[in-house]
């Protein structure tokens, strides 16, 4: 009887151990950042001012420009540990402005950016790498409900209290389904959208 109980306790203990052992791998991606932190990656959060996220595209042969006014950026960076560096940017897609109400209304429509259905766009990179033109955040962009790989070139300048990251890249709107119906044609509105970004960050304790 006691043997039986002891065996049962042992099995239960084993089970618990198995469960606890199974948990860390499931949490692996979020745990990776603090682990990297320990390896000396500094954490930065977006400063209250001084950041901009602009986009431009060709419409009827001429360049049109706009900006996103609300976005949140987090950066984990260490020059000597790019593999453990990380970047996350979350953009409120409805916060854009193209300087004209008609164009804003059109772009916010169901056939284009559709912020009602897709209120946020997110870029997440869990490692950086040296690319042809410098450092790139290697990650994924989720825009308009579509997730695709994207390497974001970054020019990173750090100071004792913060950092400024900037750069530009070109994405194709139709890759993300931005442009349904008539807007699928690229004859009037180009497929390529240039993104230009400059984000001011302050060093955070985390």
């Amino acid at each position: 009887m006691t043997n039986y109980l002891a065996a049962l306790t042992a099995v239960a203990a084993l089970g618990a151990a198995a469960c606890s052992a199974a948990e860390p791998p499931a949490q692996a991606p979020p745990v990776a950042a603090p682990a990297a932190n320990a390896a000396g990656v500094s954490h930065y959060v977006q400063a209250a001012a001084g950041s901009q996220l602009n986009f431009s595209f060709m419409q009827a042969g001429a360049e049109n420009q706009g900006e996103f006014k609300q976005f949140v950026t987090e950066l984990g960076y260490e020059k000597e540990n790019l593999a453990a560096s990380s970047l996350q940017v979350t953009v409120q897609t409805g916060s854009f402005d193209t300087q004209d109400k008609d164009r804003n209304d059109t772009l916010a429509g169901a056939d284009l950016l559709d912020p009602k259905k897709f209120p946020t766009a997110r870029f997440t990179a869990n490692s950086f790498a040296k690319g042809a033109k410098g450092i790139e955040a290697v990650g994924k962009l989720t825009l308009h409900g579509v997730t695709r790989d994207l390497k974001l070139p970054l020019d990173i300048k750090t100071t004792a209290t913060g950092a400024v990251i900037s750069g530009e890249t070109v994405i194709k709107r139709l890759d993300y389904g931005v442009g349904q119906g008539d807007w699928k044609t690229t004859e009037w509105v180009g497929d390529e959208v240039k993104l230009q970004y400059k984000v001011a960050l302050t060093r955070a304790a985390k």
Binding site: Q59, A60, G61, A62, E63, N64, Q65, T98, Q99, D100, R103, T106, G109, D111, G181, D182, W183, E187, W188, V189
Partner: protein, 183 residues
Amino acid sequence: MTFRNTTGSWGALSKALHWLIVLLIINQWIIAERAEALTGFAKLKALGYHKSFGMTILMLAIIRLVWRWMNPVPDLRAETKPWERLLAKISHVLLYGLIFAMPITGWLMSSAKTYSVSWFNLFAFPNLVGKNDGVYHLTHDLHELLFAALVIVAALHIAGALKHHFIDKNDVLKRMLPFGGVK
């Protein structure tokens, strides 16, 4: 029919420019009327064409004015009365002015609304002004007002041509017709 103008008649290039601009203006009016009722993509496309044709008119107007300076202007008939000459002069000056003023006000209003003007999506013209709601509304109203003026002056121009042809029975109309020769 000669390529250049003579003192008696318009040459082929002058005639071609005159009638091409007439057709383009009618086309512009039709596109603009239709675009009013459109939204979104269809409107973007219609106004894209309207602006491209408008810039075409402006370029043709420049060629036309330069060509006029390089060529003799056919004389009015000797019997034309001074008041007729004056009226013809005024209406011609106004018509030339309007074929420049229409595209330029359109170009200004597009610039002020940050919808740059291009030529059939091939290349863009520079913006004349930055974003400016005041300039946009002013030039938008002016664009419509000048079109009304163009309709009135063109009606006067047509009436004059018809008077020359049917009442005075001279060749002033015929010498501008595409295949109208002058005896």
